[in-house]
């Protein structure tokens, strides 16, 4: 008996199931054959080999690559260790390293040592292009392509967004022997996890700075990619690979008119919340508010909340502060982060600072990043799109004008300026409006919010920062 294995739209199919692999397959009456999730491929083939059972593998279309590295860079110790640990674990598993510690290089080393067709999944278009240029520089002779952001390649080395890889999961499933998940904490969402479940790839590498997810699904990474094989925190890596930075929080006050409008809106919202018995501070308070906003009154309250939020986030005062900060750093590479696109474009229109948002055309954003790296442009303003892992090594100043309350965002934004660069003193400015709900968002972001004791670190107000010593 020869076991014949084939691939069908993200599943492994066969007509014979010897006992040793029977438990992995399910009889499919619809097509009169046995079927298993694509993910089982490695276990099936390994078991058949171990038991010396003859099999005919028509499932995969993996390709062998000749990956010649064109530039020799001496890896840091943690990069060498991470690679060794991953290989030791059978080329499966997750490597946890802080942003800025060179995760991408670990992946390139893994590719060099596993020269098979490779799919790389990344969360954003910017990362897509960053990986693409990085791979081109490292493996100039390899056939490297893009899937997502308007590109539809099917090359033996393919960088794809999670979204596009999800849409095409069925057809990608049997093409790639190595699959790399950058910012792997994105993978366990029910929608995207099919990439890993359907894929036949025997070799899997997950990269992340923070495997934590707010829904607790990080445990799923074990089943989808493999266990954590290497983990180092920023503290453990110390100053070795990462630059020192200074954290400056600036508080500004709303103007009298802004404050009055803000108070009015918040009162309007609170009145609704009070009537509906919704406490925003409680764990499910926010969800309840969203749910209640289906009614006409609820919608009004939600709109009031949004306008209040935009006053707190987008206040004129922040632009004044920004102008001052930029004047104080007239020659340093600077990144400005805001929470919403409207603010990005407002800053770009008023200061003529190049902007990157999710609306920026792919080629233009690539050019802008190139010019920023090359030094043609010294400052960039962006919404969340640069949040994760985009390699912008030249930046030494970051200004966070507003943000949302998740710890990860804070870490990753910090990561932007944490990159090692000789003689660089990085500064992170966080501009917060005083006396608004946003304050709490900022504290939560630093992981220090405590509803009883309030913020731990006393901070200066804008007036203090400006005052002579």
């Amino acid at each position: 008996m020869t076991v014949k294995l084939k691939h069908d739209r993200g599943t492994l199919i066969t007509w014979e199931t010897p006992e040793v692999i029977a438990s992995l397959f399910t009889w499919d009456d619809r097509s009169q054959l046995y079927r298993a999730p694509g993910q089982c491929y490695r276990q099936v083939v390994e078991t058949l080999r171990e038991r010396g059972i003859k099999h005919q593998d028509e499932a995969t279309e993996f390709k062998n690559l000749e990956l010649r590295v064109s530039r020799e860079i001496e890896p840091y110790l943690h990069q060498t260790e991470a690679l060794a640990a991953w290989k030791q674990a059978g080329r499966q598993g997750v490597v946890v390293l802080p942003t800025g510690s060179g995760k991408t290089f670990v992946a390139q080393l893994a590719m060099r040592d596993t020269p098979r067709s490779t799919l790389i999944c990344v969360p954003t278009i910017d990362l897509l292009h960053q990986w693409y240029s990085g791979l081109l520089a490292t493996f100039p002779d390899a056939n490297i392509g893009l899937l997502g952001g308007g590109s539809q390649d099917r090359t033996p080395v393919l960088t794809a967004t999670y979204d596009s890889a999800t849409i095409y999961a069925e057809e990608l499933a049997n093409q790639y022997a190595l699959i790399i998940f950058d910012e792997a904490h994105h993978l366990p969402a029910p929608y995207t996890s099919v990439i890993a479940k359907m894929s036949l790839a025997p070799y899997r590498l997950g990269l992340t700075a923070t495997p934590k997810r707010s829904d607790g699904r990080e445990a799923d990474l074990d089943a989808l990619v493999g266990p954590v094989v290497y983990h180092k925190t920023p503290a453990e890596l110390g100053g070795g690979a990462l630059a020192d930075y200074q954290d400056v929080q600036i508080r500004i006050r709303l103007s009298a008119t802004e404050q009055a409008r803000y108070d009015e809106l918040i009162a309007q919202r609170n009145e609704f919340l009070w009537r509906m018995h919704i406490k925003l501070g409680s764990p499910d308070g926010w969800q309840k508010f969203i749910n209640a906003s289906g009614t006409l009154e609820g919608r009004k309250a939600m709109l009031a909340h949004r306008e209040a939020r935009s006053i707190a986030f987008g206040t004129e005062g922040k632009l004044r502060v920004l102008e001052e900060v930029l004047a104080n750093h007239p020659s340093e590479r600077t990144l400005i982060f805001t929470d919403d696109n409207a603010m990005v474009y407002r800053i770009s229109r008023e200061f003529f600072i190049p902007a990157i948002t999710h609306q920026t055309p792919v080629k233009e954003r690539h050019d802008l990043l190139q010019q920023f790296r090359a030094g043609t442009y010294r400052i960039l303003v962006t919404s969340r799109v640069l949040n994760e892992g985009v390699d912008v090594p030249e930046a030494s100043i970051a200004v966070v004008l507003s943000g949302t309350a998740t710890e990860r965002e804070h870490i990753q934004r910090l990561g932007r300026i944490l990159r090692k660069s000789e003689g660089k003193k990085a500064v992170l400015y966080e501009v917060v409006t005083e006396g608004t709900s946003e304050e709490r968002v900022s504290q939560q972001r630093r992981g220090e919010w405590n509803s009883n004791s309030g913020p731990r670190v006393p901070t200066a107000t804008w007036e203090d920062v400006n005052a002579p010593d």
């Binding site: 069908d8 008023e350 609306q359």
Partner: protein, 421 residues
Amino acid sequence: MLPTELLMFKVKAGIVEPRLLKPNPTNTALIARLIELFTEQLNKRRFELNEELRTLEAGRRDYRVVRGLSHILAGDHSTFATGGVLSPPLVRARLFELAQAHPPARFRRQDLLEQVGRSMGADPQEVADALYADLPDQQTLVNFEAPDPQVLLDRYNLAQAQGLLYRAYSLIITARRNEPARYRQLISYVKFFGLMVTVEGDSDYGFTLTLDGPTSLFGGTTRYGLSLAKFLPALLHVTDWDLSAALKPRKDLAWTDPTDTEWSFQLTSEDGYVSHYPPPKEFDSALESGFSDRFAKLESPWKLEREVDLVPIPGGVIIPDFRLLHEDGRSVLLEIVGYWRPDYLTKKFDRLKKSGRTDIIVAVSERLNLEKAGVKLDSFGEQVISFKGVLDPKRVLELAEVLARQPTEREKKKQSKKKAT
């Protein structure tokens, strides 16, 4: 189709029903107003159009209907393009380059606009306007093809039903025999959208078609919901069916029952939805249409029906081209094979044999000698007619007399009922 947040439905005891638009005066007026608004906004920017729409929906309880209808109008009936004489990317490149000379400050703004304006032969305001004129919300509505109000209403209602299927695990369709049922195109849509179908039952009691996808086997998944939603307009070209879909309940809405574990969505061919997919061709080939024409000229107690039967076989389904039905209730299925390769024909016979049906006639064009081509007929031989060029209906009828199946008791009853009325 519509984004999830614009779907409108109610749930009663686990049964989901889309909130469809009726052509009542309020809705008719709204549709007319929206079409008028889009027409008025021709040559204006998208954000201006959006502002008008926001004004229109303000204070309306049915603001999501407004958004749903405008979503369809903007997506399917409008063309947006970047306007203006100055190239926005060029303006940006010039401005950003000039701005590099000094730390950014707002007091330099006007000066920079004037410098760039001079170099491009435009005034400062034009430069400022062009800066991000290529953003989606800055684009101009350059063309609007006003749809017929009824077409828009139909499209909206279909999109609401499709939207419910985004969260479907599978579709279960009960199809009753009806002429023409047009199953063949339906089955090709199943393949086209990457779905799988299981057919059970018979023409007597009706067929059950279960649609899901390859990985549905390992447990319920909504992975194929979008494909099932796209499939629905294809199903609307088939007549006489009921559909039932199990849905994953929404937990993000306050008004739904959080203890619900599954919702059900039910639909029939009589619910009034209108497909916008092209209707199937009447015949697959000239061979079939020619046979049908010649049959029509023949005086005979046999009636010819197209694609009315599904013959389930393990691992698939056969859809014979025709069914011949005698006045006395006897019937026989007919499959016409024109161009063929030996392996194709062998497979076909194999599938027909698997069905265990003896009331199927296969007419094969004698392009090659069957035996010489290596096609083994075995016991199946007496069900095959080979023909050269044109298939004579009389030969088919001769064989039909031999192979025809007697009507079941149920069919007889139906037949006599029909005669009585």
